[in-house]
């Protein structure tokens, strides 16, 4: 089975800013992707399944709730001690992995 750990964002406590975030194009998760709070992701079209770490699972659940990338990033910056530039880098990596694994809707 194709279990892939998708995210490397590090959990930290918040002590950083969340202003001046750049607007990013919407990243839509495919409608039929099944996600669970435990971080298990299933693509019913391809049969692929993945497991995410806690923050990866949080991001996907928020994407599934149709929250924008900017809102999700703001939320992460609010709740975790993470440098904005590092978040942007990890975010781009994560989105690239979601895209490569056929989980995004464009």
């Amino acid at each position: 089975m194709n279990f892939v750990s998708l995210l490397s964002l590090r959990d930290k406590t918040f002590n950083f800013y969340f202003a001046n975030l750049l607007l990013t194009p919407p990243m839509k998760l495919k409608k039929n992707i099944a996600t669970s709070e435990s971080g298990f992701v299933f693509n019913p079209t391809t049969g692929d399944s993945f497991s995410l770490n806690t923050i990866g699972a949080e991001i996907l659940l928020q994407m599934k709730d149709n929250k924008t990338s900017d809102d999700i990033k703001k939320d992460i910056l609010n709740r975790y001690d993470v440098d904005k530039s590092l978040l942007e880098k990890d975010w781009d990596d994560f989105m690239a992995q979601l895209r490569d694994n056929n989980l995004l809707d464009y």
Binding site: M1, N32, A34, F42, P44, T45, T46, G47
Partner: protein
Amino acid sequence: MKAKKKLCIAVTGLNAIDSPGPGIAVIRGIRENKQHDVRIIGLSYESLEPGIYMHDVVDKTYQIPYPSAGSEALLNRLLQIHEIEKLDVVIPNFDAELQNFIKISESLKGVGIGTFLPSLAQLEARDKVNLYSFGKKHNLLVPADRIIYKVDDLKSVMDQFGVPVVVKGKYYEAFVAHTLEQAQKAFYKLQAKWGLPIIVQQFISGTEINIAALGDGKGNTISAVPMRKLYITDKGKAWAGITLEDKSLIDLAKHFISATKWKGGFELEIMRTADNKPYIMEINPRFPAWIFLTVGAGQNQPDALVKMALGEDVKPYTDYEVGKIFIRYSWDLITDIEAFQKVSAFGEL
């Protein structure tokens, strides 16, 4: 309370081994219908087919002649069995036996035994040997292939297709060959086991997906369930698989059924490429060994086939559960020498 309908159904393919026949899975599907009081008659070729000894699955087994004995020998044996058991339906599950069963289906009908099988022409059209032209005719994606009778022809085919190529037996088995030597070895192995011709097919890389489906013979799809192999054995068989949600795969099965008016169960073996093209690698003219997954997912194809063989109208299934998984397992069944002796000496158990 409505009395259960008594049925006596004969099933082949009891070889639940590492490369299993579909018989046991078909029987499990049939037994899921609690409206029926079913007696299952196993039809076996060899004394060590596990289903013969699985008495909670198969009530009684009779050996039948090998396909090479011809359709008349098969008919005579089935009529003998019918005298004793009063069969309602027969479900053959091996590619190699289908031709004989189709030939005698009218005679079976004459004595009250139902079948639900494709015609000889349908069987022939999707044969591996004719698959490429079949695909062209019906606008289906099929890898290029060459039918060869001599080992010397391998070189020119490999020059044409590049490497690797898939070397396939007439009925079963396939080997991926990366060199001419590997292809020659595969050729001789397949020739010894299944005879000629040998099919050499262009290699397509991608994700292996299978679709189990059932056509009503009038162009309607009664059921179609796609499955992705999650675990593949060294013989290329699915040891675990998961049902998929993909309209394009269902549409492919529907297209096949409407184009051919296929009657009965079948399996499409698909290779989905990275750019999402579904190549049909093979069309198996009977249920696959993983058919019980369709039952688990909510479309009981074996039961629907039994009903149609009995002349009942069956409404097409519309939904199935996506993400349903099967995981095959092996299990050591313990029996006594007396049982083996009975099957070997008397041809029944």
